[in-house]
């Protein structure tokens, strides 16, 4: 493959994945509104299109057409940079996620369902996530508003604290697989289907729950959404943003949710492989063979998003000191214990 071919091929994949990701973000918002509506015994959006299915598009159009207010006291370069940084980091990390089987594309164009297959895929995701903190921190600071600043300080502290627990919870899986390559991590746990998934066969269910809790905190979602606690902060770090800039923060939050779901699927739930393992023969038809893994991947991520919304509709918000002490005093030591236990088990085996 020449450089030009490689460039065009990658560009095509990037375009497709970006469009799919943005549509997924839009419809995750709808999913959340519908589900929270049902939890609260009302219908949720139901007027635009059948079952309210066109609601995300109308919302998007509304954000575009709204007046873009830039308050007088803001520090403009960073005020404009912050939403771009936030959304950019949220969207970039999808580049290393494998969605489906390798070696199904046309000859010379392998990795049809992954933009780039890198050895340190997991570390790339963690690195980009840690850069994403700047978006929120800078948004709060450059807005020149006390509530924004408080919101962003809360958020940065929360993200840094829970990033540790999140990273440590993944170490057990990495030790079991012996690699940071996401594709190999999935293939390592896919041998017998659901029995050998890391969450069950790999004995990583403690790690999975640590990851789940830390992931809710990482994406600033309920019950850890202190960043945008309306009753205390009037909205948090994005108070001074309007129209499309606000929408970019909003999209970044949902893109991060999807991303966290993708990582959970890859690390703990067997990625694109079917839960039945070798019980069912792989389909003969080439298209079914290529698309069935995508179906499994998407359904796993969907379950994760469903759980997100369910938790949001059910649990009340933590208090800030509870959040911090929970992260540092319980979650982190538990993650470390999990690492020790996993390494002992691996050494014994």
């Amino acid at each position: 493959m020449t450089i030009l071919q490689f460039f065009l091929w990658s560009l095509g994949k990037v375009a497709v994945v970006t469009v799919v990701m943005l549509m997924a973000v839009a419809y995750t918002v709808l999913l959340e509104r519908k589900l929270v509506g049902r939890i609260q015994n009302r219908w949720g959006p139901s007027r635009v299109g059948p079952f309210g299915l066109l609601q995300p598009l109308v919302d998007g159009a509304k954000s575009f057409l709204k007046e873009d207010v830039v308050p007088g006291g803001v520090y403009k370069p960073l005020y404009l940079l912050a939403p771009i940084l936030s959304l950019g980091c949220a969207l970039i990390s999808i580049a290393v996620v494998p969605f489906g089987e390798p070696n199904v594309g046309p000859a010379g164009m392998q990795h049809l369902f992954q933009i780039s297959d890198v050895n340190i895929g997991l570390l790339v995701i963690l690195g980009i996530t840690s850069i994403g903190v700047y978006g929120i921190a800078l948004a709060g600071w450059s807005s020149n508003n006390k509530y924004s600043l408080l919101g962003s300080l809360r958020s940065s502290a929360q993200l840094i604290s829970y990033e540790l627990a999140l990273g440590l919870s993944l170490v057990g899986v990495v030790m079991r697989a012996g690699t940071f390559n996401l594709r190999l991590i999935v293939e390592q746990q896919a041998k017998q289907g659901i029995v050998t998934w890391n969450i069950f066969g790999g004995l990583q269910f403690v790690a999975f729950f640590i990851y789940l809790i830390a992931a809710y905190a990482e994406t600033n979602r309920s019950p850890f959404d202190l960043v945008e606690a309306e009753s205390e902060l009037a909205g948090g770090y994005n108070v001074e943003y309007s129209s499309m800039k606000f929408a970019m923060f909003f999209m970044a939050e949902y893109a991060n949710m999807i991303m966290v779901g993708c990582v959970a699927t890859l690390m703990f739930l067997g990625g694109w492989t079917s839960p039945f393992g070798n019980l069912i023969d792989p389909p003969q038809n080439i298209f079914v063979h290529a698309l069935l893994p995508i179906f499994w991947f998407v359904s796993k991520v969907f379950c994760f998003l469903f759980l997100y919304v369910w938790v949001r509709g059910t649990l009340p918000r933590f208090r800030y000191d509870q959040l911090m002490s929970f992260g540092w005093k319980y979650l982190m030591p538990l993650a470390m214990l999990n690492i020790v236990a996993t390494s002992l088990w691996l050494a014994y085996r």
């Binding site: 570390l123 840690s130 940065s156 690699t179």
Partner: protein, 180 residues
Amino acid sequence: MHLILFLVFAGFCLAGAINLLLQSHPINSALSLVVVMTSLAVLYLMLGAEFLAAAQVIVYAGAIMVLFTFVVMLLNAGREERTLGSSAARVVGFPAVVVILSVLATVIVKTQGLGTAGLSQGITSTEDLSKVLFTELLLPFEVTSVLVLIAILGAVALARHGHGEQPLPVPANGERTAGK
């Protein structure tokens, strides 16, 4: 291809470093430092050190520099005052910089056996790196981590008031002191 990428990111690195010195607002300087760290990570990657590149982004750009900006935001540090600088610094400073850089460059160029890492060579995998770290270099590695631990404990000991030889005066109205 590697050369083009090297030139681009080395350029970013230098531009970030110069911008760091020229900016008068602390937060702009901190962000320039983030640019420097991230471009350095790309340079490491092109030298084949992928784990180092990822660690550079996660630890330096993602954690340490976030704390820097955090402190700047918390203290709400304003614009630095710009002084003209002492004339001695200008007269002696620039030649001194030139001298030091040329000495360093000469030493690096003249020294033999510095290794042959180059652009576009193979990648050192994380597995190889950890094997070296945990077998041949185990003692220095562990000693370094103990050193870091001592630094952390020292910082905590310095930051904790009221538990050493000089107890803080207890407020008369029974208000709780920091850290209960």
